[in-house]
Symmetry: C2
Subunit: 205 residues, 2 copies
DNA sequence: GAGTATACGGAGTCGTGACTTCGGATAGTG
DNA sequence: CACTATCCGAAGTCACGACTCCGTATACTC
């Protein structure tokens, strides 16, 4: 928990109202800006679109990296919650494939989110990595449920499935990919995940 | 053809020998540097590792973008040639899958190549885009051959296959992906591409 | 409504990296 | 071996973006 948030400052006065709303607005604008321009988008751009001075951005988030991390945590947590919502779904196969599709579609245009954060899944020990790990676990659970329901072949495991999820999300995020093409791409992958027959033997020979 | 290369300068003396070797060395070093650090790697880094002054780099390549483009053209052309070598292969299916695997494996660690160049496949009209297009065509030919040989189902088309190729290459390039996981990921995709049965109907219901 | 801690905004500083300039070196020619 | 066109490297310039300072404004307390 590196960012202050709105915790009470040790018995002192609580955070002022405008400060809290500003923080929230900055966070939302940052998600938009980093989503569109990648992690190299400038902090000034965020400040400008949030109708706020640069200093205010840095007051709430000590560094640009901290701001980016806060954005990532928010997004990862949201995705994880969505995944967890699907745990008790009546059709675990559909739940898994739907979530996969949804995540990839959602990544379209969110460059920084797909780029910086998925890849941050293992390179640092910060909050973002932790949130990313939570999402990964949730996807793992969806996968297991789908496998138990017979909708996904038993011999695939989370690492390769998650790698495919990340790969297609990133591809989807970097534009130049029509919706129809994206869907056909996913169809191929889903076919490969389906248990109807194992062509794997063919390739091993 | 935006870069000078070693064309004869209109009847004047030909390019000096040290200039040519320097240009070549810079290009090779740049491929290494951009491959490792992405397109945001600095030009000074390239100059330093090439044992050359910064000015020399800019003399041969007027801008950093031009240098990056030259690297990309070289790489894309090389890959295209490799693909074309496989056109007369006795087993078009194996040729296609092998090339796919080879390209993805080759992308490991080549961040800028996978990142900047594949994505440049449609955003500008420069040499890199042209070279990228040549590679795409070659992959398309390999795909068609494989389909005629019955190794790949007939109802997939180049856009989605190429999108998968790009997606997995990028994923592979950004490290954090073990070789075994990468192979299992490809196995899933190859299964999905195989014509042994069409699970697509199942998903459409 | 006065007082004060809290928060704000704009004008800085500072470092980095792309690109230029120019005096000095060196390959090629005779 | 001299001569010159070509090429080179080090020390710049310049723009941009992350981050800071400080005087001002505003939200909360009483």
């Amino acid at each position: 928990m590196s960012t202050p948030g709105n915790r009470d400052m040790g018995g002192k006065r609580p955070q002022r109202a405008d400060a809290r709303t500003n923080r929230e607005r900055i966070l939302n604008v940052a998600e938009e800006v980093f989503g569109k321009g990648g992690q190299s988008a400038s902090t000034e751009e965020v400040a400008r679109l949030a109708n706020v001075g640069i200093a205010t951005v840095f007051r709430h988030f000590p560094t640009k990296a901290a701001l980016l991390e806060a954005v990532l945590v928010q997004r990862f947590d949201r995705l994880r919650e969505q995944a967890e919502t699907l745990f008790p779904a009546p059709d675990p196969g559909a739940a898994f494939f739907d979530f996969f599709s949804h995540l990839v579609a959602d990544a379209a245009g969110k460059i920084a989110i797909a780029e910086a954060l998925f890849e941050a899944g293992g390179d640092n020990g910060g909050d973002a990595a932790q949130a990313s790990d939570g999402l990964r676990r949730a996807v793992g659970a969806l996968l297991q449920h789908a496998q138990r329901a017979g909708a996904v072949r038993d011999d695939v495991e989370l690492p390769e499935v998650y790698a495919l999820l990340v790969a297609t999300s990133r591809a989807s995020a970097h534009a130049h990919l029509e919706e129809a093409v994206r869907d056909r791409m996913l169809t191929i992958i889903f076919d490969g995940l389906s248990p109807l027959r194992s062509a794997r033997a063919q390739l091993k020979t």
